[in-house]
């Protein structure tokens, strides 16, 4: 058969390719290539949209009928469960780290700040999307109140949920931290956040994927670098699964 050599040749090439791929994936060259591509996307997006460019906002009629909960949908911590049952009377949101005036705000104080309401689309890294109406203060207002020090390059969100035995956390840079649509949401579709969607407070960072939208936020921390947090990759899924830190693609 004339076909056989060609077929075994193709199989050979495929096997070589597979072996090469698993080597390439782990190499430093591949890692720096991926990093360059990721940085390229971030820089291009911001050059085209501007640092303050807005994600699309929708009308109430365009919302999805429900809003899917994903990742952590419940928090095991007994204090959290006790607070959830009572409407979070003693829950505090801390603003700390490289700030001149650390803060600890109650939920009532968060609600009393100037509010932004936005109907936006949530895109999961897996591919699905949901649309909901969020309300809460802009992160910029909290950072200004706490007076972020020079030398702070990232804002880290500390969360109450634990997945695979690790505390959930996420981080963004100062461009997204001061973006007008970056809010700490306490309500979804006009109701206090349900537990599956991050009660009592979750982040909305509208130009990035779902895993950036930290839920059950306990503390907002200004840092110079996130190298010493978790495994140093800037977020729970970045550490655990190797997701890109810039989740804008």
């Amino acid at each position: 058969m004339v076909d056989l050599p060609r077929r075994s040749l193709l199989a050979g090439i495929a096997a070589m390719g597979a072996a090469a791929c698993s080597k390439i994936n782990e190499s430093e060259t591949a890692k720096s290539l991926f990093k360059a591509a990721e940085d390229g996307h971030r820089i291009t997006h911001r050059a085209l949209a501007g640092k303050q460019g807005l994600a699309p906002e929708y009308s109430r009629a365009e919302r999805s009928p429900t809003f899917r909960g994903n990742g952590s949908v419940t928090v095991a911590d007994p204090f959290y469960q006790e607070q959830l049952a009572q409407g979070f009377p003693e829950w505090k949101l801390e603003v700390k780290g490289l700030v001149e005036q650390p803060l600890a705000l109650t939920l009532a104080e968060v609600r009393a700040l100037p509010q932004r309401t936005q109907i936006t689309r949530h895109d999961c890294v897996e591919g699905w999307s949901a649309i909901g109406e969020w309300q809460g203060p802009q992160l910029a207002a909290l950072l200004d109140a706490a007076k972020v020090k020079e030398g702070a390059n990232f804002i880290v969100f500390r969360c109450a949920d634990v997945l695979y035995g690790r505390d959930y956390y996420e981080s963004i840079d100062m461009v997204d931290a001061y973006h007008p649509q970056t809010i700490i949401a306490h309500s979804l579709n006009g109701e206090p956040l349900p537990e599956k969607n991050g009660a009592p407070l979750r982040m909305r960072i509208e130009r990035q994927l779902g895993y950036k939208q930290a839920k059950y936020v306990k503390a907002i921390e200004a840092v110079a670098s996130f190298d010493d947090i978790g495994q140093g990759k800037g977020g729970f899924w970045e550490d655990v699964a190797g997701y890109q830190w810039y989740a804008g693609v």
Partner: protein
């Protein structure tokens, strides 16, 4: 005059590599949520217009399910694909490849022209320039499928939407853009299969995509290699 310009050959192989990586990592990414929707949102499988099969490991990069690595490869290969598409369009417009080989007249779309193309193609040394079927197919690939792939890819990136919110509107929403991304990928796959089969029938065609080959049909000029690139070359060529 070479049959294939250097710009064409360079782009062809870079793009071939990029497309293989993009397609196979895309199948891995598809496995993360195997449902396609129309409109802006979609997360409930019961609203899906299509439940996609789970693609087997041998068809995906990497060969096991790994969304992070598949996305790393996908968003990296998107660079040579996207920049390359812009490059080849500029090159084709400048060197006349587009006008000479890809433009069609209404007559090219008639059944008669298609039958004549197929007849002319099956036979030795029949390929005199691009026949109507080739013009239509390559035109669809360059004019529709590849740009659709690029624009739907950009549109489903949440960081890009702030730069061009109109793109999502044109495509009918983010989940529609994602569905079109999937459909266009299979369109390109279909072209890829036909393209490979036809090239394997006459392997010299593959060789020519490396060497450039010689342009058939036109009477050979005395010193082809020293000729300046022709502008508005004849339709055969």
């Amino acid at each position: 005059m070479k049959k294939h310009a250097l710009s064409t050959r360079l782009w062809h192989w870079v793009n071939a590599a990029a497309i293989i990586v993009l397609f196979m990592t895309g199948l891995n990414i598809s496995n993360a949520h195997r449902y396609l929707y129309w409109g802006d949102y979609g997360f409930d499988p019961k609203d899906a217009w299509l439940s996609v099969i789970k693609f087997p490991g041998w068809a995906t990069i990497p060969q096991h399910y790994n969304l992070a690595l598949a996305r790393d490869w996908h968003t990296t290969a998107a660079w040579p694909f996207g920049v390359g598409l812009l490059f080849i369009w500029v090159a084709m417009l400048v060197n006349g490849h587009f006008r000479r080989d890809l433009t069609t007249t209404p007559r090219d779309w008639t059944p008669g022209a298609v039958i004549a193309s197929v007849k002319a193609h099956s036979g030795d040394g029949a390929a005199q320039g691009y026949n109507p079927v080739q013009r239509i197919l390559y035109g669809m690939v360059f004019g529709v499928l590849l740009p659709l792939m690029l624009f739907t890819g950009l549109a489903i990136s949440p960081g890009f939407q702030a730069a061009a919110p109109w793109l999502l509107d044109v495509l009918g929403g983010r989940q529609s853009a994602r569905s079109l991304h999937f459909i266009a990928a299979w369109g390109i796959f279909g072209f890829f299969v036909i393209h490979i089969v036809l090239a394997l029938i006459d392997w010299r065609l593959i060789l020519e995509m490396f060497t450039g080959g010689k342009r058939a049909g036109a009477p050979a000029p005395p010193e082809p290699d020293t000729m300046p690139p022709e502008d508005g070359a004849p339709a055969h060529g």
